[in-house]
């Protein structure tokens, strides 16, 4: 074998790393110079796809005994088209099949059955001429067994960038229109922007001290511009002033998954000690209720408990409370939103 110059070798390595198909061309074919050229034509626009249907990479082609042409293409989805001998579109095989993900070859056997070889799913499908599935060779791997190879959930990084978030959780506004964002799982902070989206400041690192958070999961801003942060992992609501200085901590209402503040002259704060989503029913007796509070942290009352039924709460993730007596709660594990009407109690009535 001829020794290759080093640059060609490194190119070879590069290419072999990038793709297993492509082979670098070292020079013209030996027979090229001594072989006469054969004249030929190409039929232009032979295949007529229906409007709105497009070819992708042309990967497989085969004909049957009638001259019909089968085209196997890698497009948005891998697809198998049939055209007649004049190039008119006839039909598509196996729309939405489990066995089409990355086309490799199509062949037609002596009985005009159509065989599609798919290198993505590791499956070969045998179709009858009319598109019925006759046989499957190979088995698509169990996707769950491959999940550990996938990238997945963003973790805490504490990157604290002015203009990018890491699994941010909530947003609120003060009366001047300044924007507050709790951010979130991948950071542990509260970010303030002006009404035009210009970064002003951010506070917070991960932890349980002053101006520290463990998954700031929700937020509400009162009419004075104070920010109430649901510091879920620390089982507390942290109150910040408008410049994000820490003012107070309310730690008697469980783990706040969701908070909201009413849009009424006398504002109330609601906080949900949600049933956690780990599906551990041992935690159901300790969680699930929603607290009604004064903005100063005074607890006025509570309602609800964990459960699947109506009037029970199955992991409340967000609450809306425009008025004190009518709330909407969105639940993760029951796949629903409930509309809640609170009947006024003596204590809440007197505090009005």
């Amino acid at each position: 074998m001829r020794r290759l110059p080093p640059c060609v070798v490194s190119l070879l390595l590069l290419l072999s790393a990038a793709t297993v198909h492509a082979q670098p061309v070292a020079g013209p074919a030996k027979a090229k110079a001594s072989t006469p050229e054969i004249p030929f034509e190409s039929v232009s626009n032979f295949f007529k796809l229906p409007a709105g249907t497009y070819m992708g990479e042309g990967v497989g082609v085969a004909t049957n005994s009638k001259g019909h042409v089968f085209v196997y293409t890698r497009s948005g989805e891998t697809r198998l088209f049939e055209f007649d001998q004049n190039g008119a579109f006839v039909k598509e095989f196996g729309v939405g099949s489990y066995g089409f993900s990355f086309a490799h070859a199509v062949r037609v056997d002596k009985d005009d059955n159509v065989w599609a070889v798919d290198e993505g799913t590791n499956v070969i499908q045998k179709f009858s001429p009319d598109g019925k599935l006759l046989m499957v060779l190979g088995k698509r791997p169990d996707p769950l067994e491959q999940l550990t190879l996938m990238p997945g959930g963003g973790q805490y990084s504490g990157a604290n960038k002015p203009y990018s978030f890491h699994r941010e959780t909530d947003i609120g506004w003060d009366p001047q229109g300044n924007i507050f964002v709790t951010d979130g799982y991948g950071d542990s902070r509260v970010v303030k922007y002006d009404r035009n989206g210009v970064f002003i400041k951010s506070v917070g690192t991960r932890g349980n001290g002053t101006l520290q958070f463990s998954t700031p999961h929700a937020m509400a801003v009162d009419a004075k511009g104070n920010v109430y942060v649901a510091d879920r992992g620390n089982n507390r609501i942290v109150v910040l002033d408008n410049d994000l200085n820490q003012k107070a901590v309310y730690d008697t209402v469980g783990s706040p998954w969701a908070v909201c503040i009413t849009n009424t002259p006398h504002q109330y704060l609601f906080s949900s000690n949600s049933f956690p989503t780990g599906n551990n029913f041992d935690q159901a007796p300790m969680t699930g209720e929603v607290y009604k509070m004064e903005l100063d942290g005074t607890v006025l009352g509570r309602f609800g408990k964990a459960g699947h039924g109506f009037k029970e709460f199955s992991s409340i993730h967000q609450m809306e409370c425009r008025t004190p007596d009518e709330l909407y709660v969105a639940e993760i594990t029951a796949w629903r939103v409930q509309k809640i009407k609170l009947r006024p109690t003596t204590s809440t009535a007197s505090s009005k």
């Binding site: 196996g94 729309v95 939405g96 099949s97 489990y98 066995g99 993900s101 499908q125 019925k132 599935l133 046989m135 499957v136 088995k139 698509r140 169990d142 996707p143 769950l144 999940l147 550990t148 190879l149 996938m150 990238p151 997945g152 959930g153 963003g154 973790q155 805490y156 990084s157 504490g158 990157a159 890491h166 699994r167 799982y185 991948g186 991960r206 463990s214 998954t215 879920r232 992992g233 783990s255 956690p276 989503t277 780990g278 599906n279 551990n280 029913f281 041992d282 159901a284 459960g307 699947h308 039924g309 992991s315 993730h317 993760i332 594990t333 029951a334 796949w335």
Partner: protein, 367 residues
């Protein structure tokens, strides 16, 4: 002593399989045409004879460029009438419809799916509307460090373990680690790990076979979905499991669990008390209990993906006595390829769903 000898004798013939009668049967492999081809994981009929198919079709999708790479799509639910004509699809785009495992119809004709990708059980009414959701899909698949962070850093232990750290972060769902001590016992709740089947008793209590992942238990819920109890963990003794692949109940409320890895069907009462086991049926995977005055258990000794051995289906009296067997593994009509589901509303008219052959066959047993 005589009893023990008899038992030994029974086991001996079961292992040789020679004196188990071959049942005559016929199939129709062409009765339904799937609107989208794929592995038929679940088949079930309702009281009108309509057939519901839960199939793995298209692809599970993981979105690129997200912090939350999660599992969507991957399976579909199709309904056919008693003549095999396609009626409609239900559950289009539903969050839990990812990796079809089983479908069952309860006595009120509600449609229940068991999904081993989302780890969920979802109940639809006969018109395809949500009735109940059990379990929760993992928020993300796999793990990776955040941008610019080494793989070892950042993740606090409490979040990594799940718990209250976040509604995400539960890397490996279920498992004995957060459970009740014994490996595979799972949590007191509906944190399923590749659940495989669902069954009910007369009161409507729900039993979930959980499953063929890290849990090896059966979880019981009220008809409203509230947790009642769980039993079982990983092992080979009575009440222990090694991959539960199927679950069925009889009219008396007994439960039959296809304990595949231990090559037996375990029988429990509705409180989880072990009653007996059936061991002469190979590696039971799909199982069902027939309707009718005299109920029978069918259990499929399904082939493995790399083999064309086995594949026969056993017909068993509820006392455990094997009545007969039929079929074998293969790709032709009348043969069975990785049967994952059997519907046996009546004793002699069955549907089988095949993962290998991507089809549902109507099976008629001859008397």
């Amino acid at each position: 002593m005589k009893k023990a000898l008899l038992l030994l004798f029974a086991l001996g013939v079961a292992v040789r399989g020679q004196s188990i009668p071959e049942l005559t049967y016929d199939t129709n492999a062409d009765m339904i045409q799937l609107p989208a081809f794929g592995e038929v994981a679940g088949v079930a009929t309702n009281s009108k004879g309509h057939l519901f198919v839960y199939a793995r079709t298209g692809h599970g999708v993981a979105t690129l460029g997200d912090e939350r790479t999660f599992y969507h799509n991957g399976s579909r639910i199709f309904q056919f009438d008693q003549n095999g004509r396609f009626v409609k699809e239900i559950g289009q785009g539903v969050y839990a419809v990812n990796f079809a495992q089983q479908i069952r119809i309860d006595p009120q004709d509600n449609v229940w799916i068991v999904d081993a990708g989302s780890n969920q059980v979802v109940k639809f009414d006969a018109d395809g509307r949500f009735q109940l959701v059990l379990g929760r899909k993992p928020e993300n698949i796999g793990v990776r460090p955040g941008p610019g962070v080494p793989a070892s850093g950042g993740m606090p232990a409490e979040a990594a373990a799940g718990g209250r750290g976040g509604e995400g972060g539960r890397g490996a769902p279920g498992g004995g680690a957060g459970g009740r001590g014994a490996p595979g016992a799972g949590l007191n709740g509906d944190a399923f790990s590749r659940p495989s089947d669902v069954a009910w008793d007369r009161a409507g209590n729900i039993y979930v076979a959980d499953g063929f992942g890290t849990n090896n238990r059966i979880a019981k819920f009220t008809k409203d979905g509230d947790f009642l109890k769980t039993w079982g963990h990983t092992g080979s003794g009575p009440g222990e499991f090694n991959q539960i692949r199927g679950l069925a109940s009889d009219a008396a409320g007994n439960l039959y669990a296809a304990d595949a890895g231990n090559k037996r069907v375990q029988v429990f009462d509705g409180e989880g008390t072990f009653k007996s086991q059936i061991t002469a049926v190979g590696t039971p995977q799909a199982i069902c209990v027939s309707g009718g005055a005299t109920q029978y258990l069918y259990a499929s000794n399904s082939n493995e993906p790399e083999s064309m051995d086995r594949g026969e289906i056993y017909k068993v009296k509820l006392t455990g006595e094997v009545v007969g067997r039929f079929g074998r593994a293969g790709k032709l009509p009348k043969q069975f390829g990785m049967v994952n589901s059997i519907d046996c509303r009546t004793e002699n008219d069955l549907w089988v769903g095949e993962v290998w052959n991507w089809r549902a066959q109507r099976v008629t047993l001859k008397r």
